[in-house]
Symmetry: C2
Subunit: 200 residues, 2 copies
Amino acid sequence: MSGDEKQQYHHGNLRAALLETAVLHLREEGIEKLSLRAMARELGVSQTAPYRHFQDRNALLAALAADGFAELKAATAKAAGKYPKDAAAALQACGIAYVKFARSNPERYLLMFGPGIVERQRYEDLVSNSDASFQVLLDVIEQAQREGLFSRKPALMVANTAWALVHGLSTLVIGHLQWVMSEKELEQQISLATGMLVNK
Amino acid sequence: MSGDEKQQYHHGNLRAALLETAVLHLREEGIEKLSLRAMARELGVSQTAPYRHFQDRNALLAALAADGFAELKAATAKAAGKYPKDAAAALQACGIAYVKFARSNPERYLLMFGPGIVERQRYEDLVSNSDASFQVLLDVIEQAQREGLFSRKPALMVANTAWALVHGLSTLVIGHLQWVMSEKELEQQISLATGMLVNK
DNA sequence: TCGCAAATGTTTACGGTGAAAACATAGTAA
DNA sequence: TTACTATGTTTTCACCGTAAACATTTGCGA
């Protein structure tokens, strides 16, 4: 795109630019205030230009959430990958990475799991990215079962439980607790929680 | 007041009526679409009348959430009260009641814990009702510890874990899972989850 | 009982929003 | 060059939240 400042009719990369500034706006003002018009203004583009790239506001939010799930998956997968031979440790690392993601992207996390997007199932890659991020956790759990943990418990229910736990910790840590804590305390909390699951 | 249908200047009970129809609108359309004007119209009242009872839209939502927490507290307390001598059973019952509340009031639940309300701490009874509903769970946990469960673990962290678990199950059951299940399966899932906590 | 203040509604008005429709321009491939 | 397609723009509409000024009712103290 070069460095010259000429006013161009075509922005050149509006879609990406929209998503980028949307993340910023989301972080600073929350979902309710996120306005297509304001973003268009900020990008020096007409108020209806965004509609060339997203069917409507909801679609923009869905894309934002889909990206979020991709990042979440990457973060947890990376953490879990560090302990290929110790599923309990992997689970714990995974949980920590999960909650940290939520903690450092609170508004986006709430968008991903909140009521902000209607008819989510209509957005293919939102669904698939979401499933993929769950799969990471599921894999860890299954690995754990191969190592003898969670014996005689239905795998899926265990995975549900584990996910519920980290998801719950995340949403609570994000906004609804005074007991939000230091990095260190947070890790202890997560360790204790996941530890209770693996029965240590 | 009375039963005659005369057009009256004063509605008589606008505040309560607003909250009531807000619950309905919330259930049917979600928070984003909930509009003061639409509600006013539906109640046959001018579009600015609601502002006599709520400072702004946010305050209305806060009141709605506060009511929700009161109901949640009542539901869990009632469930827990059935097992005064068996904390593990009480915890389980409490969890089931909690998730069922969320499941039957999904939009409201998401309002209570989501980003829909800004500056929650500014609304006194939202904060106090929220705290009170947490207290129910905390009491059960402490009772459990007196019975010897969760030995040698910090009480607060255990409570956090328990809350995270039921909260996580709730939000997941509400909207983000295909594995949303029958009433029976749900209870099994919760039993397994809380069971894993109490180490059974 | 009267009268007045507070509570509750109404009218009007402003600026912001999502979105549809018709039109303009730029880039691309024949 | 020429036509097609992708991308922006202008204009327009129907909403929305909410502030200000005004009206009516109600309830309470004299």
